[in-house]
Amino acid sequence: MAIQTPSLELGAPLVQATAAAAGRGYWKSVARRLRRDPVTVICAAVLLLLVASALAAPWLGLADPYKTSMLRRLYPLGSPNHLLGTDELGRDMLSRLIYGGRLSLFMGVTPVVCALLIGGLLGITAGFVGGRTNMAIMRVMDVFYAFPSVLLAISLSGAMGAGTENTLLSLTLVFIPPICRVSESVTTQVRGFDFVDAARASGAGALTIVRVHVLGNVLGPILVYATSLISVAIILAAGLSFLGLGVKPPEPEWGLMLNTLRQAIYVNPVLAALPGVMIFITSICFNMMSDGLRAAMDVKA
């Protein structure tokens, strides 16, 4: 490749050739190393708790997150019956924060998963086939790279209009190029290794090589990267809702709650900041998980 953008300058090889050869033993050793890393275990536990409580929200005996009450507006934290107070329309904050996790987590994870499938497929194809196919795919990605990611997300959502589906769509589009780039560069590297030539020489078809050798090596770096992208996605999705471009009221969603509670910063500032704390906890946990995974999988940054 003649011309590269700075983020592509990968000095050290991203993958260890030994990883794929080790086969199942590799993933076992990754799991063992993860279990021994207290920070990762704690983050995983916190995230599990958040996901579980969001999923189980209807059965937790919480107050109705949609029920407004003009008499009970902006109750402070620790009020009887409203542990975390009430919002600007008198709705129970604890309930809304837990229910809010449903949409906020969904809107952070879904675009990354979709982008992982599409971008991964495109990147592996580009890296494995090479030549003109690589040129075509990667030059289209370059166009998306010409936009700062936040600007791209906001312009796309802004043009398409508010709504959950549009937000998911625009965030997926934003995350396809970086995932495509990472998987392309790893695949190109893997393709150059001797064991791929050896496999080809012993009669393995392209699909077998991709499945066994490329996927085995690409999965690690991509998973590490995708985990940290979820953290970005959660902040971006909340940001879009905060601007009024994502989830529409009265749905409970952390970004939207931050927006509507802004009018309360003079009355009950702590309450107004609460939804952001949830976003912060989620996003920092995903980032720390990504770091833990990177160390456990021995992936170079």
């Binding site: 010409a146 936009f147 043009a159 910063i265 003079y266």
Partner: protein, 317 residues
């Protein structure tokens, strides 16, 4: 070197073409007709058809695209539907305000990141290293628009020390270098600098750590060079990587300041974009996106060329 810069510039042409296609497509992503944003819903059909003809929306899309491109290339981005002013003048005045904030935030982030990152890489005690790592982790994980609100709550609402929004006093006409305007800049600058601070601190720390483990450092130590002199060598070697990462972050900061500008009502491109979206002012949306993307491309190119200039070891095909 000049040849390299020129080649990169030529390479930008197809990318810019793609960008223009995407920005042009933005209008057609919008639900309904682009005309429906301007006219009242009960407008007679003849009026709509006249307007369509006037704006060229009755032509096939490729024709519309090349006409739009030709006009845009002359610097004419059309007229704002909301204010009736030319998009170019709206965007350029907002762009200046965004740049002011971006320069302040970049300077703050880069200075702090170099100090923190270097300290962490040199730190003998694990506590300093851990603390800096935590700071950079918080920087990339904190929702910056939430941090902006928290800053407003603490410094404007509770302490009353700093203004909560706006670019200057109410009667101010433009940005000036004085006490009142600087006070308005403090909170948005801090809020805007957290992400680059986190990213660059991380880069500085890992880059310097890597350089410190290189043999030439050991050689310099063996020669009896003082630590401060060695630091100069180390920083010189770390500079290209760190500058490149900072450049990319600065670009992201300019394009991504919309959330912060909205919280602080800072009259920059992000604020303009936000109000354009809600007025369905598509020419402004298009113009702002195009200008920001163009600036981002040129900035990345500049960073790349500077990086090659600073570091003669980088040879590029």
């Amino acid at each position: 070197m000049l040849l390299y810069a020129l080649r990169r510039l030529i390479y930008l042409v197809p990318v810019a073409f793609g960008v223009s296609l995407l920005v042009f497509g933005l209008v057609h992503l919008a639900p309904g007709d682009p005309i429906s944003a301007i006219v009242p819903p009960d407008a007679p059909k003849e009026v709509i058809d006249k307007l369509k003809e006037y704006y060229g929306f009755d032509k096939p899309l490729p024709v519309q695209y090349f006409r739009w491109l030709a006009v845009t290339l002359t610097g004419d981005f059309g007229t704002s539907i909301g204010t009736g002013r030319s998009v170019a003048s709206e965007v350029s005045s907002a762009f200046g305000n965004t740049i002011i904030l971006a320069i302040a935030a970049t300077t703050l982030a880069f200075t702090l990141a170099v100090i923190l990152g270097t300290a962490a890489a040199y730190a003998k005690s694990r506590i300093v290293d851990r603390l800096v790592t935590l700071i950079s982790l918080v920087g990339v994980s904190v929702p910056h628009f939430w941090l902006a609100i928290v800053l407003v709550i603490i410094f404007a609402v509770e302490l009353g020390a700093l203004p909560p929004m706006g670019m200057g006093p109410e009667n101010s006409t433009g940005w000036r270098f004085d006490r009142a305007h600087l006070a308005h800049m403090v909170l948005p600058t801090i809020a805007l600098s957290v992400i680059p601070l986190g990213v660059v601190t991380r880069t500085v720390r890992s880059t310097i750590k890597e350089i410190l483990s290189m043999e030439f450092v050991t050689a310099l130590q063996a020669k009896g060079m003082s630590d401060s002199q060695i630091l100069r060598h180390v920083l010189k070697n770390a500079a290209p990587t760190c500058l490149a990462v900072m450049g990319l972050q600065a670009g992201n900061l300019i394009g991504g300041s919309i959330l912060i500008e909205t919280v602080f009502a800072w009259p920059g491109t992000g604020f303009l974009l936000n109000s354009a979206i809600f007025r369905r002012d598509l020419p402004i949306l298009q113009g702002t996106t195009l200008v920001l993307a163009g600036f981002f491309m040129l900035l990345n190119l500049t960073v790349d060329v500077i990086q090659t200039m600073v570091d003669p070891r980088i040879k590029r095909g």
